[in-house]
Amino acid sequence: MALEILKPGLSTTVQDLGRPGYYHLGIPLSGAMDREALIAANALVANDDGDAALEAVFMGPEIRFTADAVVAVTGAELPPKVDGVEQPTWQAFLIKAGQVLSFGFLKAGARAYIAVAGGIDVPMVLGSRSTYPLGALGGHEGRALKAGDVLPLGPARRKPKPGALVPPGLRRPGGRDVELRMLPGLYWHRITEAAGRHFFDDVWKVAPEADRIGYRFRGGRPLDFLPREQPFGAGSDPSNIVDSCYPYGSVQVPGGTEPIVLHRDAVSGGGYFMIGTVVSADLDLIGQLQPHQQARFRAVEMAEALAARRERAAALAKLKAAV
């Protein structure tokens, strides 16, 4: 029982819920950029939340199945096809031995999750099947898939039901003009009051470089820094600090011009000041942004950030109960 990769798509990787516990050594969490979509796809094929699936960005792969399987595609609206016949997203469907799964053009969002009953059974590395391509770790040979790769499947955990679906009101395919909630951070004091206002007023656009490591935005006004004598160990640019830890979701602004939100494959530290941290509840939304789409940042306090986290957990519990 296996998947044969005929065409890999743009960058398709094996991802699960990630590899926590090694960030202090520079090994990031990795895992699905849109964790809720991964969990939804797994629920549809009766897998566990953290089973490994494929994450396809912007463009789908072409896969031949060597045995009958139940499959679900969630996240981005990337229409799946079985032997050329379009199938619904957010709904489990059957694919027969020898049939080929392919995809139409992306209609919304950025990353689709392709879960197969039993999960992708690549070896566990440091407790996870996620691919961290920069470190050549995990997934299939530590890299994005290539034509000719063969991926083994695990045994089905429960009997999956083709036709199982996520009700439309509970789907988050990703959209345009999102609002990202941000907790202003430790280095907020480095910029002028006017720069702080502009940061939240301005509309930012996703830069084409945005990837799993960080989402870069441009289009807003450059930040003005308050003058200071740079401390020992910090670089000479006013956006430089003495090296510090970078949280997931932290927003660094090198040179004060283009904010970068660190994501699942984040680097764990460095010398750029951070204006704040996007709340964990909104990181999935970032994973579904296409280049050139618009986003704005909104300041929140810790209480709202924690409430947002509880709200997403409740929404996810509702989704799983509905499947």
Partner: protein, 80 residues
């Protein structure tokens, strides 16, 4: 003459030239063959070639060099 509109397979930034100081891959009116590179789309720090899947006369471009594209946006018209 059947006119066919070719769509962008991925979102990103569209380029008609291999690099800023080189000529464009194709001009409107050119006859192109399947397998020819018509442009590049830059996304996630890589440049993906836009390769013609079929040949014909490239009638017109729908977008300019360095324009942003979304997946499914029209790129060029082909007279088959």
């Amino acid at each position: 003459m059947a006119l066919k509109t070719i769509q962008a397979p991925i979102p990103g930034t569209f380029y008609r030239k291999p690099s800023p100081d080189q000529p464009v891959f194709k001009e409107p009116g050119d006859i192109i063959a399947a397998g020819d590179t018509v442009g590049l789309i830059e996304v996630m720090k890589s440049f993906m070639p836009v390769v013609a899947e079929e040949g014909g006369k490239l009638a017109a471009f729908h977008i300019e060099n360095e324009d942003p594209v979304m997946a499914g946006d029209p790129l060029y018209d082909l007279e088959a």
